[in-house]
């Protein structure tokens, strides 16, 4: 290398180092404790994405060892597909050129600087290479290679490459596929709310299909901290489809770039092929409105014309983008994930239907856990996620936190000093925003920025889980009350009778009328259990009539109805009242008698179903059940009727039915106003006799 080259190289090196230095706050390397979190995050996110694409259930191990002073060694290992030898340089060398820059779909990696940043940081702070072992299934041996970054050419430099059999240190078995990264860096391990531990704990909650472990060692080799989060589900997240951008979210610059790069010869085909939600008819309408001839060549469109097109995009009616680019965790798995990390007594989860904001599909999921080991004296724990990636910093400035604070939690049984802000109590709330385009407040990508539609969706989801909590608490206190009453009449009262009769030398009185007087109510008790042999989630409901009059009721139970579950065992018959709601009419219950109602659901695993909601129709109260809110039920029926109608229309049009929002025509209909005559007409007639059911109860 001659002098000139050396200087030039140095300058380049300085400039990249400078870039790193200047931007380390949003690259995530601004402080020593954060550097190690960022490094783990880049590596683990990559592993999870890779496993998901290769349909492998991830096993991820993280090991951190303090070496000297402010330096530590980080080892991460996964059982992913590995990286083919020739791609290693690309994966570890493309600094700030993520491969996902153009793709529109929900991925974790979207948010980070990439593993290259880790290699770079290691090199800049310790001067050492990053050691990579990669094994792909089709190769007979693994590739061992040391990587650095050529700051001049902005690419990875390989050295010390060799091939060998890879034996797993822990199991002693040969590794058939996977990736192992060992790197040195200036960083500091810190415990607490902002730590690698917390990051992995949160990651494991939203990735119940992953097994993740962590070991942190000090210089002497003794364990400072460790964690082991074993997978609770064998269901891999759905493969997400890449989608094309939707015109509603397009900015002028992007449109111009797309026009420049387009190979289409005509504007109509350009619009049809490069965007989602644009039908041939819509394409024509857009061009007509923008006064652009259909046959024009995209490359020749001028800036002025592009501008008018942007306006037309917002005016012309368009289909919503497809939603299979999103990968929600789904409420049952959120429940599993939460229970894996937090010991609680109650969990309420909700996955909202996907929605669209400015052409970007998004979906909100919320989980709330309550009781158990959670402490009750402080603010609740908030677990924020964007596309399954934990957000650990800037909690206060984040949209997810703000929408949580906007809920009046006192209505749902949590303390909220001052009537606003983060509620207090033994609870934790998880909020997951899945979106093809998560908007952050800053490059640090730690806080989601304000968006009306997202805010509203989260708020609605909060209200739903809040209602769940409220029901649970009410039920809890009713259950306690009922338990006390049962103890009173079944244990204490007979003893009072026996003892007083003994003392006085009298006959024991008949207690039945006394019990009726004391209880003077109808009690309902439900027990959920797991039938191992039949693999059924069983629900047994006992109803005691402790009043002086005969009672007639219809009992309704909520059950987790889905494609995979069915009402397998149901000797009492009854019928479906709405989605996930079954109803049984009971025979008249005479005073002092009780009856049992039992049913079993297939398609769930043990522990999946641990809280049932029981409702009733009829006169008087039932302790242990809620009076059916007919208005709410009506609303649900109409929503379902609407959805059914949408499917029908789609089927007629020959459009494949997908898990998306339906066409614009129907999404314009506001489901909150069920009086729309069109919707009322669509209610399936088979269900109508149920509307008359209440008449029988009088």
């Amino acid at each position: 290398m001659n002098e000139a080259e050396e200087i030039s190289s140095k300058q380049k090196q300085i400039s990249i180092s400078e870039f790193f230095e200047k931007n380390k706050h949003f690259l995530g390397f601004d402080t020593l404790p954060r550097a190690v979190i960022t490094a783990v995050k880049e590596s683990v996110d990559n592993s999870l994405d890779a496993c998901e694409e290769a349909r492998i259930l991830p096993d991820i191990r993280v090991e951190i060892r303090r070496t000297k002073g402010d330096e530590l060694e980080l080892i991460t290992q996964d059982n992913g597909p590995g990286i083919p030898r020739d791609a290693i340089e690309n994966v570890f060398g493309k600094f700030l050129l993520g491969s996902r820059f153009h793709a529109i779909r929900q991925t974790r990696g979207q948010q980070g600087i990439g593993i290259t940043g880790v290699v770079m940081y290691s090199q800049l702070t310790t001067g050492s290479k990053t050691h990579v072992v990669s094994k792909i299934r089709s190769d007979s041996s693994a590739v061992y290679v040391d990587l650095g970054v050529d700051t001049k050419k902005n690419k990875a430099i390989k050295s010390g490459e060799k091939r060998d059999i890879w034996i797993d240190e822990r199991t002693g078995d040969e590794v058939s596929h996977g990736l192992r990264i060992r790197t040195q860096m200036k960083a500091k391990y810190q415990r607490g709310k902002k730590s690698v531990f917390q990051y992995l704990r949160m990651t494991s909650i939203v990735n119940p299909h992953a097994s993740i472990s962590l070991v942190v060692l000090d210089r002497e080799g003794s364990v400072i901290e460790e964690g082991d989060w074993v997978r609770t589900s064998n269901k891999l997240p759905r493969v997400v489809e890449e989608i094309k951008p939707h015109p509603h979210g397009i900015q002028l610059g992007t449109l111009q770039r797309m026009l420049r790069e387009a190979n289409d010869r005509k504007m109509t085909s350009f619009l049809k092929h490069n965007f989602s939600g644009v039908s041939p008819r819509a394409a024509k309408e857009i061009l007509a409105m923008a006064e652009v001839e259909e046959g024009r060549t995209p490359k020749r469109i001028k800036a002025e014309e592009a501008k008018t097109m942007i306006t037309a995009f917002q005016t012309v009616k368009l289909l919503k983008p497809p939603m299979d680019c999103l990968s929600p965790i789904e409420d049952l798995l959120i429940k599993k994930g939460l229970s894996k990390a937090i010991d609680s007594r109650f969990a309420s989860t909700v996955t909202r239907s996907p929605s669209v904001s400015q052409g970007n599909p998004f979906q909100i999921e919320v989980g709330l856990v309550f009781g158990g080991d959670l402490t009750s004296d402080g603010p609740i724990e908030i677990l924020r996620f964007a596309n399954r990636v934990p957000l650990m910093y800037q909690q206060g400035g984040c949209l997810l936190t703000k929408s949580l604070e906007a809920v009046n939690w006192k209505n749902y049984g949590l303390e909220q000093p001052g009537g606003a802000g983060i509620p207090k109590g033994p609870a934790a709330i998880l909020i997951h925003l899945a979106s093809t385009n998560v908007q952050f407040t800053s490059e640090a990508k730690e806080a989601v920025s304000y968006n009306e539609e997202v805010f509203e969706e989260i708020r609605k989801a909060m209200l739903e889980v809040g209602r769940g909590l409220k029901n649970h608490l009410k039920k809890d206190s009713q259950r306690k009350k009922a338990k006390e009453k049962f103890e009173l009449v079944n244990i204490i009262l007979p003893e009072i009778s026996k003892k007083s009769s003994e003392l006085l030398g009298r006959e024991e009185p008949d207690l039945a009328p006394v019990i009726t007087q004391i209880m003077n109510a109808v009690f309902l008790e439900e027990v959920l259990s797991w039938d191992k042999e039949r693999r059924l989630s069983m629900c047994s409901i006992t109803i005691h009539n402790y009043t002086a009059r005969a009672r007639a009721y219809t009992i309704l139970a909520k059950w987790p109805e889905s494609n995979g579950t069915s009402m397998e065992y149901n000797p009492k018959g009854g019928r479906k009242e709405a989605r996930g709601l079954w109803a049984w009419r009971l025979d008249t219950l005479d005073p002092g008698t009780s009856t049992v109602l039992e049913f079993g659901i297939s398609g769930l695993s043990k522990g999946d179903w641990n809280e049932a909601d029981i409702f009733f129709r009829g006169n008087g109260e039932i302790i242990g059940a809620t009076k059916m809110d007919e208005a709410l039920l009506e609303e649900q029926r109409k929503t379902e009727a609407l959805e059914a109608a949408v499917e029908e229309v789609r089927a007629k049009e020959g459009t494949p039915v997908r898990a998306d929002m339906g066409s614009q025509v129907f999404s314009d209909v506001d489901v909150d106003e069920p009086r729309d005559p069109m919707i009322a007409d669509m209610a399936p007639s088979a269900d109508t006799d149920w509307f008359g059911m209440e008449g029988d109860e009088q």
Partner: protein, 368 residues
């Protein structure tokens, strides 16, 4: 109380059975069992003109088996009844604490705490109009100690009567008052005193003895040990009745000491059902009064939050509804101060016996 007011075995068992019968009768009528009790709070005590002490008024509370907690209490009451009957039959007695431990074997009738068993025993006394001595139940705490020239006869555990002079036959700790001070156990034989002085704190009791106050002022000194036990109040009542000697009470100046005096002179809220046996209406509050704090310029402490609350409650306590007490309480509230008996030591160890007590006793016509 004289022998004639004490109940026979049969009467006691009969009264207890009436409690059980109330429960049984109601169950036979198809109603939840229950027990009717007077309300035991300051809102339900009133001055009984005939007896000259405070007794429970007419407010009743019903404890019935419509709630789990009350039902358990009814069951426990029946267990106590059975236990008392057994003791009466076998001629045994037990302490309240022993009964608490015995209840371990009562299954669902087991007590939750010692306090609960004490309260239930008191409830039974009230409902049956018997005394806990009738129930063969003894308190845990011992009574007061006495020093002074009085002579008593006490029947010892071998059943022999022994004569004790409370000045000459005792050490510095004085004569220990037994838990039972009724006629069958204790006789007041002889005295050579002019009055009795009841003292709240042990420190002051010992100071007066060291200074030879009992002989100098010709009095008997009784150490109350804080809130006085039933037997302490009962023996003062007997001395007052049988020897017609004045009783003066010398305590700290704080709201709690006022209550000590009220329980001696007017009757305690908790034992208002037997006030006529325990309260000595002739007793006089000697000091330390709120006036004394000012008059003697005594070192004082600020009233705590609890003190202030207690004073406020006393203003509406019917026992303190006299001009003098209202004045004292209000004065104390104004000052926001309280003082201990031993604050008199500000002027030397002999000040209390040489100056303070002679002046105060002179003020109520007991000068010597």
């Amino acid at each position: 109380m004289s022998e004639s007011t004490r109940k026979s075995r049969e009467q006691v068992v009969d009264s207890l059975h009436q409690v059980a019968a109330e429960m049984h009768n109601r169950m036979q009528r198809g109603e939840p069992p229950r027990m009717t009790l007077p309300v035991r709070s300051k809102s339900n005590i009133s001055f009984d003109n005939r007896l000259g002490v405070f007794k429970y008024g007419k407010s009743k509370t019903v404890r019935d088996a419509t709630k789990l907690g009350s039902a358990r209490q009814l069951l426990r009451t029946l267990h106590i009844t059975e236990f008392i009957e057994e003791m009466i039959d076998s001629g045994k007695s037990s302490t309240l604490r022993e009964m608490y431990y015995i209840s371990e074997g009562w299954g669902n009738g087991k007590f939750g705490s010692q306090n609960e068993s004490n309260n239930l025993a008191e409830d039974l006394e009230i409902v049956t109009k018997c005394l806990r001595e009738d129930f063969k139940l003894r308190p845990e705490e011992d009574g007061a100690r006495i020093i002074g020239n009085i002579t008593v006869e006490e029947r010892n555990r071998r059943g022999e009567w022994m004569t004790i002079n409370c000045r000459d036959d005792v050490g510095d700790s004085g004569y220990g008052v037994p838990y039972n001070v009724e006629e069958e156990k204790l006789k007041l034989v002889d005295e050579d005193i002019d009055f009795v002085m009841a003292i709240e704190t042990g420190g002051m009791f010992d100071r007066l003895i060291e200074n030879g106050f009992d002989e100098e002022a010709r009095c008997a000194l009784i150490h109350l040990k804080g809130q006085p036990a039933r037997s302490t109040r009962r023996i003062m009542r007997r001395i007052s009745d049988e020897w017609k000697k004045p009783i003066v009470v010398f305590t700290d100046c704080d709201p709690w000491s006022f209550r000590i005096f009220a329980s001696i002179a007017y009757g305690a809220i908790k034992t208002a059902h037997i006030s006529e046996y325990l309260a000595t209406k002739e007793a006089t509050y000697l000091g330390i009064t709120a006036d004394d704090i000012l008059a003697y310029d005594l070192p004082s402490d600020d009233l705590s939050k609890q003190d202030t609350g207690a004073l406020e409650a006393e203003l509406s306590d019917p026992r303190f509804n006299t001009g003098w007490w209202q004045e004292q309480i209000k004065l104390m509230q104004e000052m926001g101060k309280k003082a201990e008996q031993q604050s008199l030591a500000k002027y030397g160890l002999d000040f209390v016996t040489d100056t303070y007590l002679p002046e105060k006793l002179d003020g109520i016509g007991l000068g010597y």
